[in-house]
Subunit: 467 residues, 2 copies
Amino acid sequence: MHMFRRLLIASAAFALVCSAAHAQDLKTAEALRDKALRDYLAWDITEDLTTNIGPRLVGSPAMAKAKDWSVAKFKALGFTNIKVDEFAKPSWSRGEESAELVAPYAMKLGAVGLGRTVSTPAGGIEAEVALFKTFADMMAAPDGALKGKIVVITQPMVRTQNGAGYGAAGVSRRIGPVEAAKRGAVAMLIRSISTSDSTVPHTGGTASGEGVVTIPAAAIGVPEAEQLERLAARKVPMRVKLKLESSVNPNNVAWNISGDIKGSEKPDEVIVIGGHLDSWDVGTGALDDATGIAITTAAAKLIGDLPKRPKRTIRVVMWGSEESGGSSEAYLAANKDALSTMVLAGESDTGADRIYSLQVPAGSLDHPVVKAAASVLAPLKIYVDRTPAAGAGADVSGIERAGVPVINLNQDASRYFDYHHTMDDTLDKVRPAELAQNVAAWTSLVYLVADSDVDFRALKPAAPAAK
Amino acid sequence: MHMFRRLLIASAAFALVCSAAHAQDLKTAEALRDKALRDYLAWDITEDLTTNIGPRLVGSPAMAKAKDWSVAKFKALGFTNIKVDEFAKPSWSRGEESAELVAPYAMKLGAVGLGRTVSTPAGGIEAEVALFKTFADMMAAPDGALKGKIVVITQPMVRTQNGAGYGAAGVSRRIGPVEAAKRGAVAMLIRSISTSDSTVPHTGGTASGEGVVTIPAAAIGVPEAEQLERLAARKVPMRVKLKLESSVNPNNVAWNISGDIKGSEKPDEVIVIGGHLDSWDVGTGALDDATGIAITTAAAKLIGDLPKRPKRTIRVVMWGSEESGGSSEAYLAANKDALSTMVLAGESDTGADRIYSLQVPAGSLDHPVVKAAASVLAPLKIYVDRTPAAGAGADVSGIERAGVPVINLNQDASRYFDYHHTMDDTLDKVRPAELAQNVAAWTSLVYLVADSDVDFRALKPAAPAAK
């Protein structure tokens, strides 16, 4: 037989086998997807975690209970290789807090201390307000210009589907107090990094810790920020009184908890998915991120229930310190050999509203597994974004930086920042049908990749040669 | 000339005169309406009152400033016969407040003391929770059955266009603490009387004062109420700690402030409209009821600016104690002769969303002035409800009971109880176009009545004869 012809036949036979395998996979993925749409496991997990454990700040008694809850949940759902990786994580906790306008009239301000803020003196700080409508305006003030003032920044956050408004507005929260301190301010209030019109303010981390020179800082409600802006526009002198209490435990520990759905053929090739178990102390961390835990755990469990499990292992990691940072670094430190086994990683951490797009690793857009995923996800109203996946959640960022390919299943964030990091991040904000759509997407996508041989690292396009 | 024919001619001539007058009135009313739709006075008044005065609780320094603001506003807008009627009104004020779940885990509860609640002991009250899903369920508990407990009632409020859900759910707030006290409870929390899903709780009056046996009581946020309900459903024992501080000033005074747009022909026939100047201490009382003040003041001012003023006088009363009660009784006491001069009364006190229907006094549906009003209001998407007007606002209820006919311009309350009596009742919740629609309706309707001779009392159908 002519060599070329033989190759052709072999190739066709291979394609047939492949396409038969693909067709079977596609059918299974579609069945999983449709089952997930009517499955209530993710809802039940979310309800259980938020109701029975409540808020889960790193260092709180609730966080320790949450760790035990995770182990029990993995066991109950049939996960194996359940691991609890403990790591050192200094913790911060909130005491009494209050803020009020004292002049030109008395008005209580909805206020919450930024995460890891320093305390005010016990009696609080009362001072004149220096108000800036943007972070940039404050940055333009020279060193010392804000001496003795309480700085207020009222820059609003823009509502966007992809959440990009958060990064833009968040700079006031992240480094505002440090920059205000440089300029002589004694305390700082920022307009809540929020898309809502609510008085319920958003907390969230601000730069703090050893060597950081900063001042007490809190977020205030959106209506209060606008009220102060209107008074400032009238040149009415304002005084605010702020009281913040907090404490730090430098010797705290946190935990990453993981469980596996073991692969049937290549168990040492691992797809890592998950959400974060910790939350801020306000609300019950329903959207941030009980639902991420629930979506990925339910997806893995649904796959694990298949009569024939996919080839690769699916590992769910319930990350133990997203809001306080350091989870993935701790994971890699505790699992030195894991890096080479991870073929893909992803995190669900933008609430539970609909997923609207998928991003895959660079170079993989034309791979059959991605084509199959596109086909399975299309009826869920998810399109494939041709921009490569990147920045797949704070908890897998360390893994991503270490070279593991990542996927993004992008959730609609239009509503997320109405509730994020507030007392209003509670179960009632989770929409069951949208939660199920998330599970359906994760389940079918992860199944397809887990039962394939796709090697995203090998598909990565070579970097352009240096000139 | 035959007598009948003469009568016919006279009658026709009269009808011609009338219809010419009516046609002119209709044209003026339409022009006023259309001008009002593009007028920003009501917005400016709302912004001014909420920004420069802030929250206006009876007895607060801000309320005294608000009284002066009212006088100045009437003067600036050309009102005459400006009167300040002072009356005795005991006042209540709020101190520090907090509520937290302490078992099964620590969770801060969004809480606000009910208006006129008594204080807890200085250290607060901590007790086991007895949770009831409805007020009726609690009422079924026998005397003494709740000994030592903190009662929680989680009955939700139903969202309705006409606000009827408020009355139905509000009973827990109004008399719940008294009824819980009878049954031995030591404190009470109610699910916020709210249509929102927010943690921001609603305050509002509860029975208190001399001879009333009651207990400290607060409202908690909707998500917290639902969280406690879920824990109760799991039979998890709960403990709550509640701290409420308040004080009462029995010797306080309040003020009704009024100003007139004097009628051109029959100045002693008076149409009384208005809103209430006071508010709760949370938020800035924007929807409740700065907008009512603004709508009615702007309407009267627009009419006052006409080249030819209507026959009758339009009086705007800025009622001084709606949330604490007693305004109209005080008004009648201070203006003993006013009752006979009042031809119609109305109040705007359900926020600033669109008006959707008009109710007129019994027997007047077929009067030409009501027909004209129906025609002018139809393009504003307001229909005439055939049920007679009644219960036209707490502040005119005393006047209404004394026999003065009232009108209702019914505002869409679908959204009102998301914000009402909360820190979220702020200027940003006011929609300028809907506010202007309100002004347009009041302006055109009040003008038509003010320039007419309609006597609503005379039109009132006779009560059915007693058998």
